[in-house]
């Protein structure tokens, strides 16, 4: 199994009230993974901006190996994407402006654009904070897809880095797979049996994947799995909210994103439009 890495981390920044929180989160993240941190500002480089930013950097209690600050002009989305490619970035951080629902949407829509094009994994922080709020519970998607194994491995890597104690793998099973409707007692019995069977199948698939996750990553983690019959991408977000998870790890977009799926949001789109928790989207680089 290919080891996922979070060596090169990039964060785009703007001079918003949340700047400090975003910067501090990024600094911590890069320190945990022992990697390099890139700051990217899309816009005019002025002395005042540089000074403010410098002061914030100096305030941070931790400091990663190497920090690089990039000032670029251009359209935000394309600039961020091209900078990620240029610097061989592994993880792109996007901080939310913690204000109102509308802003969440705004973040969602930018994030959607970026994640569609980003060559790397993306971490969306809905509540960046200056003091560290350690993640306690990570929910990882585990539905049947060629990308899932990579995602699960990366999730364990990430949990190892940030020392997140609980991991729940969620297998979303399409209700259509049951192929029977519960109309009366007899069909209900059939549905229940069929669901149990599908559940066992999914569970053994997930256990196989878990078996291939390196032992040292699994040590000290409480790992559980839960299967859910429901709309893919949606159920897991709802589940994360119900169990009060603070990080949701998802596969990046499946390759073919048609116009149809843009009009009718699916999978990731559900999560991105609601952002129930922080979301980490794992890009499978071997897919490139």
């Amino acid at each position: 199994m290919k080891k996922a890495s979070f060596d090169n981390i990039l964060i785009g920044f703007a001079f918003s009230p949340n700047l400090k929180a975003n910067v501090f989160e990024a600094m911590r993240m890069a320190t945990f993974f022992g990697g390099n941190l890139f700051f990217l500002h899309v816009g005019e480089k002025t002395g005042a901006k540089e000074k403010t930013f410098g002061e914030i950097l100096n305030d941070s209690p931790v400091r990663p190996k190497e920090i690089k600050i990039l000032w670029e002009k251009g359209e935000p989305v394309t600039t961020i994407v091209s900078e990620c490619k240029k610097n061989n970035i592994d993880l792109l951080l996007l901080g939310a402006l913690q204000r109102e629902n509308m802003v969440k949407f705004y973040l969602g829509s930018i994030a959607r654009k970026i994640t569609r094009k980003a060559p790397c994994s993306v971490l969306l922080l809905i509540k960046p904070s200056i003091e560290r709020v350690a993640s306690q519970h990570m929910v990882v998607n585990a539905f049947e897809s060629p990308q899932t194994e990579v995602t699960i491995c990366a999730a364990f890597e990430f949990a190892h880095g940030l020392d997140i104690p609980r991991i729940t793998l969620v297998e979303e099973i399409n209700r259509a797979e049951v192929a029977i409707a519960a109309d009366d007692d007899r069909s209900l019995r059939k549905v229940t049996l069929r669901k149990e069977k599908l559940k066992r199948r999914e569970l053994s698939r997930v256990n196989d994947i878990l078996g291939r996750v390196p032992e040292d990553l699994k040590a000290n983690r409480k790992v559980a799995s839960q299967s859910i019959f429901g709309t893919r991408g949606y159920s897991i977000g709802h589940y994360a909210k119900v169990v009060r998870a603070d990080l949701l790890v998802m596969n990046a977009k499946e390759k073919h994103s048609s116009i149809w799926s843009r009009i009718f949001p699916k999978d990731l789109e559900h999560i991105l439009s609601e952002l129930p928790t922080d979301v980490l989207i794992i890009q499978n680089k071997s897919n490139e």
Binding site: D184, I228, F229, V242
Partner: protein, 741 residues
């Protein structure tokens, strides 16, 4: 159960089902004739619908206990269609309407094929109630005049109601027998229907009320012919006319105006109302099923669609599932679809054999049945009940009611839906909540891996607009399981959902499962949430009673004080899982009140309101019960007064256990249960002597609990005292027995 076993039990149950089918046909005949006449269709059209409906739905349907035939809800639609489609020519209008019925049948069939049974969930419950009340008023307004023997009055429902005094005036001004006799027959018929439920005389109860009305009407006619030897002083147009040869004279629908607006409107109305009426009835009948089966509504819709089309082709009205007749079926021991089939065959036999007698029925008698039906639909207590749930629900009810009466059904229900939605938006002060989240999946259901419980979480909002999503998930949970429905992520829950959940709660507790609803506690405190939320879950505050206690309640309170027991007068919906008892298998428990609890909490004495049957066959009964929790389990048994009618009516699932050495006891008591040997061993001489020497009480044991019931009414203080003494003595005997054993 394997195939031969199923077949054996089908054959074994056949006599019971034939009997139930027969009793139902006694109700179906007058209703079928009456509903057809009320729709201005030939009387036979209603019977044709019942015959075709009974046969087809019994062969193809998906529910076991429902009876199919012409329905009340359709009367208004059909009446309007028959009166307008033919431009005033009633017979031509009837032929056009038959064509509309055929097309509506096809649509209904398609509803079933595409599994649109859930469609009825899109109607807010208060708007539906308003629509049903409007239909009731529509039937009532017209038939009040016919009941008084006056058929010439026409107009909108409101006008018709205002003209009632004028019709009465005609009778007062012209006191001739030709006018007074039909009116008197109508009034007597109405009185029979009203007081039928209160007469507990068994023989009288063997024949259903509508049939008594028919018997009185036919009897009156025979009296004039055979005894008074006079011409029957009732005008020709007030008598039923059947075609001389029923089978040869079947009319054929006229499809020539199929593409016109009014025709299409009629088709839509018929399909909509027929589907709604059927689905509501199926759901209600499922609640009465002693075997607790779940009906396949889509299969039923397909069968009803086919039946409707066939019925229309041979001149019948459309076929729906009807609640009143179905509940008569349940109460008379019907256990599968063969009773529906039998009811159809009996009806056919009646029409062919008793054609002459049927033509002796005067319309005022049938009109009385319809007036009673209409009143049941429109009864003011419906509005009062809804007012208790919330003022906004009463507003929705009234808006739908008035607009349905003035502008027709489709507009009425449409405005009902719209006003419900607007009220929701106003209550929440947030349109965005609904528009943004309407089409999103909002329900998460999974089975918790550790506990095995089903967990259902609902997000955003849950109202009639998206209740079908929640229902879809709940329907996949076996009712024997433990389910938790969590609304803590949900900002708004409406009355339709709360009422629907209460139905689920009931069906779960009937089958031994549990639905817990959590996460609503916080809702009451937030201002943007409507009061309907808390009020719709029946709980202590649902039935608030005044603090004025009645004389009986004060006596109960005193008695409790002397005994050092606890007394609570409030009405609550805590029904102590009474559904576990055989006695409540086909009854619906409403609420309990006047509860006395012994100091050790093992004895509960309470008054209970429960209903048998539904709709016009519904009887609400209030009776006192005593529930004992025993320390040691005893065998399951039922002990009741030996009664001839018990054997055909109730609990015939068990055979009477007789003791050869206690002939007197065996003669006086019915004793039944599954484990006959254990029961025989359990009833020793002391116990038998105890029962012989005391008052009759119905006693049912389910192992650790005993249910003791006195009369079919509330017990007086004296009776309660003797019930308590009886119970105490019984408990001490049982205690002694288990100690010895």
């Amino acid at each position: 159960m394997n195939r031969t076993n199923a077949f054996q039990s089908f054959v074994g149950d056949l006599p019971k089902n034939l009997f139930a089918g027969f009793v139902v046909s006694l109700v179906a005949l007058p209703l079928g004739l009456g509903l057809a006449i009320a729709s201005e269709a030939p009387p036979i059209a209603g019977v044709i619908a019942a015959v075709v409906g009974g046969v087809v739905a019994a062969l193809l349907g998906g529910s076991q206990l429902t009876i199919t035939g012409p329905g009340n809800g359709l009367v208004i639609v059909l009446l309007y269609a028959i009166a307008t489609l033919g431009d005033g020519d009633l017979y031509q209008g009837y032929l056009f309407t038959l064509a509309a019925i055929v097309v509506a049948g096809v649509l209904m069939f398609l509803f079933g094929v595409f599994r649109l049974g859930a469609l009825s969930e899109f109607f807010p419950s208060s708007a539906l109630q308003g629509m049903l009340a409007a239909i009731g008023i529509g039937i009532l307004a017209k038939q009040l005049h016919v009941m008084l023997g006056i058929t010439t009055v026409n107009g909108t429902p409101f006008e018709l109601l205002l003209k009632v005094p004028a019709s009465v005036q005609i009778l007062i001004d012209n006191p001739v027998i030709e006018l007074i006799l039909p009116a008197a027959l109508g009034l007597v018929s109405l009185l029979i229907l009203i007081y039928y439920g209160r007469l507990q005389y068994r023989v009288f109860q063997l024949i259903p009320a509508p049939m008594w009305v028919v018997i009185v009407a036919i009897g009156l006619n025979y009296y004039f012919e055979l005894i008074a030897k006079k011409a029957y002083p009732v005008a020709e147009n007030l008598m039923i006319r059947l075609p001389d040869n029923v089978i040869a004279n079947l009319p054929f629908p006229d499809f020539s105006i199929m593409t016109t607006g009014p025709f299409i409107g009629t088709v839509i109305s018929i399909t909509l109302i027929a589907s709604i009426e059927s689905l509501l009835s199926i759901k209600a009948v499922d609640k009465l099923d002693p075997q607790k089966r779940r009906s396949n509504v889509n299969k039923d819709l397909r069968a009803l669609g086919i039946a409707t089309s066939l019925s229309g082709l041979v001149g019948g009205l459309n076929v729906v599932t009807v609640i009143a007749r179905s509940s008569v079926n349940v109460n008379n021991g019907g256990s599968n679809r063969s009773s529906n089939f039998a009811h159809a065959l009996f009806l056919l036999a009646f029409i062919l054999l008793f054609q002459d007698q049927i033509q002796r029925i005067a319309l005022p008698a049938l009109a009385a049945i319809l007036v009673f039906t209409g009143y049941k639909l429109a009864a003011p207590e419906n509005l009062l009940r809804i007012l208790k749930i919330g003022k906004e629900q009463a507003a929705i009810f009234s808006i739908t009611l008035i607009i349905t009466l003035t502008n027709g059904l489709i507009t009425g229900i449409g405005m009902g839906i719209l006003s419900t939605f607007l009220i929701h938006v106003i209550i929440n002060k947030n349109l965005f909540l609904f528009t943004r989240n309407w089409l999103k999946p909002n329900v998460l259901m999974y089975r918790e891996e550790d506990s095995g419980n089903y967990y259902v979480s609902v997000k955003n909002f849950s109202s009639f607009l998206n209740f079908y999503k929640l229902k879809g998930k709940l329907d996949e949970i076996p009712e024997t399981e433990h389910a938790i429905v969590d609304f803590s992520l949900c900002e708004f829950v409406d009355h339709t959902v709360m009422e629907g959940l209460n139905d689920y709660r009931r069906s779960f507790s009937r089958k031994g499962g549990v639905i817990e609803i959590i996460g609503l506690d916080a809702h009451g405190t937030e201002t943007q949430h409507p009061f309907a939320i808390r009020k719709s879950i029946p709980s202590n505050d649902f039935f608030k009673l005044g603090s004025n206690l009645t004389k009986r309640q004060i006596s109960l309170q005193k008695l409790a004080k002397i005994l050092n027991w606890d007394y609570r007068s409030e009405l609550t919906s805590d029904t102590k899982e009474l559904e576990r008892f055989n006695y409540f298998e086909s009854k619906v428990v409403n609420y309990q009140y006047n509860e006395m609890i012994s100091a050790d909490g093992r004895i509960h004495l309470f008054d209970l309101s429960y209903s048998e049957g539904a709709f016009i066959a519904k009887e609400d009964i209030k009776a006192s019960f005593l529930l004992v929790e025993l320390e040691e389990a005893i065998p399951y048994f039922i002990l009741d007064r030996e009664n001839f009618f018990n054997t055909i009516n109730e609990q015939s699932s068990y055979k009477d256990i007789d003791f050869s050495n206690y002939p007197d006891f065996s003669k006086r008591f019915f004793l039944g249960g599954k484990e006959r040997e254990e029961i025989t061993a359990f009833f020793n001489q002391e116990l038998i002597f105890f029962f012989e020497s005391h008052n009759y009480f119905r006693i049912e044991s389910i192992g650790n609990s005993l249910l003791i019931k006195g009369k079919n009414r509330l017990s007086s203080i004296q009776e309660i005292k003797s019930l308590l003494a009886f119970t105490n003595e019984l408990i001490s005997i049982l205690k002694k027995k288990t100690n010895e054993g």
